[in-house]
């Protein structure tokens, strides 16, 4: 007999399904290395962001009486060639490296997703045109071009904006291909046809239906992209075409010691070590996210 209650008894007896975030987090938790990576990143980010509050030195405070000082109670990691405290410089440099990474990733995700969605959804000549452009840009030697662009733009803009723009110019190509692939596989599914039959506009289908279903690889790609951009930024700064000294970034802290890294190897060791630790943590997390968000795995 039809009931008049609004919920069925069986619903009340069954346990509540965990939300997607919970499921993802539980699967993520299983990867020990990724948890270590997450913890390391959180600690590092907190230290870098709050450094101005608790560090007694500023990153450009010179102390020419104490150049190349070894680690001591006053300077936990020692000083560099101009007597600047190394630990302070490393933390402030981390601020820049991390913010460049995040800023570039944000820009690149937006551009890449938009272009990929348009190419994948509309297909036809739009798709061919956009993909030809992407293929063309992938055939160009991008790194030398980045150096040249950086040199040209730095005449007009400050080095932070320059490097964010320069790194974003080529960074969106991979995301674009990824999103396009996702859209292509979703395009022929029944729910899209149903949505269209219900009268949804193109943009509604794209943004309200296809995009949420493609989020998993985009999230993974975004995470990994932060690491890539941190490395690219340090490479550009190392060569002198990124953030310019005396503003510290891990890359140009390395190039600063160019003339004496053999005599003072520790000064070259720390900045690179921090880059390595940061990017490794990001990569561990990205890999674990890929497993955690994989819809093919059954719990």
């Amino acid at each position: 007999m039809a009931t008049t209650s609004t919920t069925l008894d069986a619903d009340r007896l069954a346990p509540a399904e965990p939300g997607q975030l919970t499921v993802t987090w539980r699967r993520f938790r299983k990867h020990k290395l990724a948890l270590m990576g997450l913890f390391t990143l959180i600690v590092l980010t907190l230290l870098c962001v709050t450094a101005p509050l608790f560090m007694p030195y500023k990153p450009d405070t010179l102390d020419l009486t104490q150049t190349f000082a070894p680690a001591s109670a006053q300077h936990w990691l020692g000083t560099d060639d101009l007597g600047r405290d190394l630990l302070t410089r490393l933390l402030f440099a981390g601020q820049i490296s991390l913010s460049v990474g995040i800023a570039c990733t944000a820009i690149v995700i937006v551009i890449g997703t938009l272009v990929g969605m348009i190419a994948g959804y509309f297909g036809g000549w739009i798709d061919t045109l956009l993909m030809r452009i992407v293929d063309l840009l992938l055939a160009i030697p991008f790194f030398p071009l980045l150096l040249v662009l950086s040199q040209m733009l730095s005449q007009y803009l400050d080095s932070f904006t320059t490097i964010v723009i320069v790194l974003s110019v080529f960074g969106w190509l991979g995301i674009c291909r990824l999103v396009r692939g996702q859209i292509l596989s979703l395009r022929n599914l029944d729910f899209v046809e149903a949505t269209r039959a219900l009268g949804a506009s193109n943009s509604r289908i794209m943004f309200n239906h296809m995009l949420p279903n493609s989020l998993a690889p985009i999230i993974v790609a975004a995470t990994l992209a932060v690491g890539d951009f941190i490395i690219s930024e340090s490479a550009l700064s190392f060569l002198g075409y990124g953030i310019k000294t005396p503003r510290a970034t891990w890359g140009n802290m390395l190039s600063d010691v160019n003339n004496y890294f053999l005599q003072h190897p520790l000064l070259a060791f720390y900045p690179g070590l921090l880059i390595l630790i940061t990017v490794v943590s990001i990569n561990f997390m990205g890999d674990a996210l890929r497993d955690a968000l994989d819809p093919r795995l059954k719990m």
């Binding site: 063309l136 055939a139 030697p141 040249v148 040209m152 340090s234 190392f238 390395l254 880059i275 990017v279």
Partner: protein, 351 residues
């Protein structure tokens, strides 16, 4: 197959033309253009000299008024009346001039003033090619067995250690890694009286044709250049092999009683290698960036360090020529990879 090859070659030429055009326009049309460094305040070069420089480069006329972009581009490709190119008469029409199409890449302005760019690059190109090709081969030789073993022995301790190492490999800043290698293997080994690796150049003075000496000089640069590729390719090969090993035809091969090595190498690996070809060809543009960094660190006399020094000296003919040559090499490598892909996967040939 021949039709495929011809089609691919034509595509390659079109891509080459378009990408060189893109490079040219990016370099000359960005606000300020290639002469901005000379016009910067503090540059020790007078405006009259800058104009003359621009005239020689085909950018503006002697008074400093820039030419329109299309005539600059065509002048760059072929300047009628310029000496040093071709001088032929076809069907009563005399074609006389020089430009990119006749192989004239200009002369160096500041880096090695007056010297032909073709000569400068020509004497450095072989070194860079040796470095790149060696590192590609070494990367393959290491990545293949590592990827295969990692896949076959999945979840073993060896697999976990390899995975850990590859993670570090892809996260490594190459310039730092190179310096750490120099500090340890060149500097400290020498201090401790142990045999050490040479930290710079391609050969010791006077020993140019001594192969073991050249190989010794190549050890560290090749290691630095190959690290990321080995890490990335072996991870990719591992996941590719894992997918292939689960497929039905591999199971059939096991069931038939074939030896493990035959199943893995002759059946699974062949199919797992195919997507790896694409991955390898996608990493070739990155090789040029890596070469720039590696050659600068090790003072290796290749094209990369020439490009870096020329860029610092605002020497645009050299910069442009480097970008062109790298584009040509990348596109050729892509064509080669496509051909290899067609050879390996018959489905592509007949589509």
């Amino acid at each position: 197959m021949t039709a495929f090859l011809i089609r691919r070659l034509i595509q390659g030429v079109v891509v080459l033309v378009i990408s060189t055009a893109i490079i040219y326009f990016v370099l000359t049309l960005i606000p300020g253009g290639p002469l901005t460094g000379f016009r910067a305040p503090g540059a020790k070069i007078s405006p009259g000299q800058v104009n003359r420089l621009g005239y020689l480069m085909g950018i503006n006329d002697l008074q400093g008024h820039p030419y329109p972009w299309y005539s600059r581009y065509f002048n760059w490709l072929f300047t009628p009346g310029k000496k040093g190119g071709i001088d032929v008469t076809i069907a009563g029409v005399r074609i006389f001039g020089a430009g990119l199409l006749t192989g004239d890449t200009g002369r160096s302005i500041t880096y090695a003033t007056g010297q032909g760019v073709t000569d400068l690059i020509g004497e450095r190109l072989p070194f860079t090619l040796i470095l790149m090709v060696t590192s590609l081969i070494v990367s393959l030789i290491i990545a293949l067995p590592v990827g295969i073993i990692s896949a076959v022995k999945q979840y073993s301790r060896l697999d976990y250690s390899i995975t850990l190492l590859t993670f570090f490999g892809i996260s490594m800043p190459t310039f730092w890694f190179g310096w750490m290698l120099i500090i340890l293997f060149a500097y400290y080994f020498q201090q401790w009286g142990w045999p050490h690796l040479p930290p710079s150049l391609a050969f010791d003075p006077g020993m140019e044709s001594d192969i073991p000496n050249r190989l010794l000089h190549l050890v560290m640069p090749v290691t630095v250049l190959s690290l990321i590729q080995v890490a990335g390719w072996s991870r990719f090969l591992r996941s590719s092999m894992l997918e292939v090993l689960r497929l039905d035809y591999v199971r059939t091969a096991w069931a038939k009683g074939l030896k493990q090595r035959i199943v893995i190498l002759r059946h699974a690996l062949r199919n797992a290698l195919i997507p790896l070809i694409t991955v390898i060809s996608l990493s070739i543009p990155g090789l040029f960036g890596g070469a720039i960094i590696t050659e600068s660190i090790f003072s290796y006399p290749g094209m990369g360090s020439l490009f870096y020094n020329a860029l610092g000296a605002y020497d645009w003919p050299i910069v442009m020529a480097f970008l062109l040559i790298s584009s040509v090499l990348i596109i050729s490598a892509n064509i080669l990879a496509d051909v290899l892909y067609a050879v390996a996967d018959p489905r592509i040939r007949y589509s």
